[in-house]
């Protein structure tokens, strides 16, 4: 009696020898009858009804026997050959024995030979057994009509099908996932937690910075500027790294905050370590076969080697920092009398550009300082101590001083010749001759103190005629149009430089206005400057401020001074009033629409005429009217002639009325 390896009794029972052959025969028979069993293909396999409840939501027994066609087929099969029935458990006796309850059957596909061997016994009265007869009919409590059952069956079939598909898909997904996990399993725990942290830190260190305003300036400022006024209690959701905290939803967990804080500390340590390491692009380790790069995103590998200019060659060309004493009219000779004038001007232009660029750098530094003092979001949060605040204040004062010196307002420089032609204009005018210089003025302006503002305005007024925007207004000349670039410069000056001046003048007392106006008339070719838009606008501001102060009981002697200046100004401009209107191409061509549109741009002239006519004596008013009468009539005919679209006529008339109302007239009186 040899026990098998697993301890089973591996020996077959002795009588089994015959049984075994029986079994084999049986199985053979089963295979042989294959073709015959085709007859039972229509038969429902009732042995698999266990899941009917789940699939159909109904027990197999609940189904009315009206529709049990397969039962009949089953009977037929029984009649054919009970022994060869494939599913013995479904035999007659079991069903009669259990009544309406379907026989609990095992999987019919796999038939145990032992069970099969019992079949002949069980089958003995199989053929006569009333397979699915009356007992079943009593089982369903309610008899449904044909249609009802049909419908519910169809519906359930559909539902179950969808359900089945879903389950299949889910199973497939699960299997795929498990397969993946199994495939990855061999890599588990290759890296320790420390390794992972280390890698994560290295990756983050590329992006994290201790000064977001230095490395992520655009993003930081953009979010501050474009975000609608964040309330102080609720600072914008910016982490100190410049990244929005984990998702933009505004979820802000204290835990993640803590994590960020920890990481920042780690970064800080790493940065410090890196600083302690010797500088250099590469580092060689003992025994290493290559070099290890120390480059980062912010400090990339240097791909291009620029040959440094030799010191002597570089100095000559490199921007000589404009010396604080102003470049005088003799400036060209300073670079060497042998050099041509054009060379001198190009060098000079370069110097101006460098000066403006320096001013930009200074302004940026200043603004960074202001942000630090005023705690912009994202700045280091530790409170500033008294001492450091003081240090910041002194630094700020220093930078402001630098900025002021860069403007070179104070250089005692006289306009070399009226008209500004030849020689060098004032350094401040040079500063304003470049576009970016004009753009910078508002940003410088807010850092100037009252005294500096006064000096700034005075210098500008005194050198007004040498400004490029004054000279450019004559450059349309014969072509009849001003180039787009010049128009843009004009616009920029009107938007950037003039407003601070206007704001200053509108707050100034009459004595200051007098001084400025006097300076303006003395130092500039007034009829010439007045033809430019900026010049005339400035004059308008002077005069209207004077008139406003007259109403506010300014001191009598100052008023008298203003009146004298006014008379002087009027006298200078007399016989030029009609020429204040720019001559343009449109006025030469016959295009009325274009002409009208052009005329709308002349509103500043009408404003000036209105301002000057307010304080005019009757004789002066008479002079004014006689000089611009033609222009007035021209505008009114243009407006009334028709052919103009939309609200152009009314706007034209409104322009003219600016002037006429100041005289106590109205356009309607002239038209009638």
């Amino acid at each position: 009696m040899a026990n098998s390896f697993f301890g089973f009794n591996a020996q077959l029972p002795s009588q089994d020898a015959a049984k075994l052959t029986d079994d084999i025969d049986l199985r053979l028979e089963r295979i042989e009858i294959g073709p015959e069993t085709e007859a039972e293909l229509g038969q429902l396999d009732e042995g698999q009804d266990d899941l009917n409840d789940e699939t159909f939501g109904a027990d197999a027994g609940d189904i009315h026997k009206d529709f049990d066609f397969s039962g009949n087929t089953g009977k037929a099969i029984d009649l054919i050959d009970p022994v060869h029935r494939p599913n013995p458990s479904n035999s007659g006796p079991s069903t009669t024995q259990w009544g309406s309850v379907p026989a609990p059957a095992g999987p019919p596909a796999f038939v145990d030979p032992a069970i099969v061997s019992t079949v002949p016994l069980a089958r003995s009265h199989g053929p006569t057994s009333p397979d699915n007869h009356p007992p079943r009919a009593t089982a369903p409590p309610k008899v449904l009509s044909l249609e009802e059952v049909e419908q519910s069956l169809i519906q359930e079939a559909r539902l179950s099908q969808a359900d089945h598909q879903r389950r299949m898909a889910r199973d497939q997904r699960r299997q795929a996932r498990e397969a993946r996990a199994a495939a990855m399993f061999k890599y588990n725990n290759l890296m320790t937690r420390y390794d992972k942290d280390y890698v994560a830190r290295i990756q983050m260190s590329q992006l994290v910075t201790d000064d977001p305003y230095a490395d992520d300036f655009y993003y930081q400022m953009y979010t501050v500027v474009r975000q609608p006024a964040p309330s102080p209690q609720q600072p914008p959701m910016l982490s100190p790294t410049g990244h929005r905290q984990f998702g933009r939803g505004g979820r802000f967990h204290p835990r993640s905050d803590n994590g960020m804080h920890k990481m920042q500390q780690q970064i800080q340590r790493m940065v410090n370590d890196a600083k302690r390491k010797p500088k250099g692009a590469t580092m060689t380790l003992e025994g290493a076969l290559g070099t290890i790069a120390l480059h980062s995103v912010r400090n990339p590998k240097q791909a291009i080697q620029m040959a440094r200019r030799s010191s002597q060659g570089g100095e000559a060309l490199s921007p000589q920092t404009p010396p604080l004493p102003p470049p005088t009219a003799m400036a060209p000779t300073r670079t060497g009398s042998s050099k041509s004038v054009s060379r001198a001007t190009s060098v000079n232009r370069r110097a101006v550009l460098m000066r403006v660029e320096k001013a930009y750098a200074t302004v940026l530094k200043l603004e960074a300082l202001v942000r630090r003092r005023h705690r912009f979001p994202g700045m280091p949060t530790e409170p500033l101590s008294e001492a450091s605040l003081e240090a910041l204040a002194t630094e700020e004062a220093q930078i402001k001083q630098q900025l002021w010196q860069l403007l070179q307002v104070d250089s005692a420089h006289a306009s070399p010749s009226p008209g500004g032609a030849g020689g060098h204009p004032h350094p401040l005018v040079e500063f304003l001759s470049v576009t970016k210089g004009k753009k910078l003025i508002p940003r410088i302006y807010q850092h100037l103190d009252a005294d500096q503002v006064l000096r700034f305005v005075m210098t500008l007024v005194a050198n007004f005629e040498s400004l490029d925007v004054c000279r450019s207004s004559f450059e349309f000349g014969l072509s009849g149009t001003i180039s787009a670039a010049i128009t843009e410069e004009n616009q920029l000056f009107m938007n950037a430089v003039l407003p601070p001046m206007v704001a200053f003048i509108n707050d100034a007392p009459l004595s200051t206005v007098n001084t400025l106006l006097n300076l303006f008339i003395d130092r500039n070719n007034v009829p010439w400057v007045a033809r430019s838009k900026v010049g005339l606008s400035l004059l308008t501001v002077f005069i209207s401020r004077g008139e406003v102060l007259r109403l506010q009981d300014a001191p009598a002697e100052e008023l008298a001074g203003f009146d004298r200046l006014y008379a002087k100004l009027f006298g200078t401009l007399q016989s030029y009033f009609a020429n204040l209107f720019p001559t343009t191409k449109a006025s030469l061509s016959g295009d009325l629409e274009a002409l009208a549109k052009q005329s709308l741009d002349e509103v500043y002239v009408w404003q000036f005429l209105a301002a000057i006519s307010i304080g005019a004596s009757p004789e002066q008013q008479h002079i004014l009217v006689s000089e611009v009468r033609d222009k007035v009539m021209e505008q009114l005919t243009l407006a009334t002639k028709g052919g103009l679209t939309s609200n152009l006529p009314s706007m034209l008339i409104a322009n003219v009325n600016l002037f006429l109302h100041a005289l106590g007239l109205d356009a309607s009186q002239l038209l009638s």
């Binding site: 992006l207 655009y218 993003y219 660029e357």
Partner: protein
């Protein structure tokens, strides 16, 4: 870092990314990283008739190195600020070069 910083502000905007293989993809910028890899959502390819295989693609990840141009929405860009940022960047680089 300027470009990275710049593109971060465009997240949520609609941009057109022109690739070096002449494919132009219009979509909402979802994210961008330090390599200027770009994630786009709700994408649409220009000249769909030439690229029918892209019609069913709804979002994509574009490797930064294959981008030729990114067309930006002008309204979303603060040019003055961009100039400042560029100035700061150049100042920093000269400062580190000297150091």
């Amino acid at each position: 870092m300027l470009f990275y910083s710049f593109f971060k502000t465009l997240v949520g905007q609609t941009v057109t990314v022109e690739l070096k293989n002449d494919l132009s993809v219009v979509g909402t910028l979802v994210s961008v990283d330090q390599f200027l890899n770009i994630k786009l959502d709700n994408i649409k390819v220009e000249h769909e008739d030439q690229h029918p295989h892209m019609m069913s693609v709804k979002n994509c990840f574009i490797r930064g190195s294959v981008v030729r141009y990114v067309h930006l929405p002008p309204a979303a860009i603060d040019t003055a600020l961009l100039q400042d940022a560029a100035r700061r960047e150049s100042q920093q680089s000269t400062a580190t070069a000297k150091a």
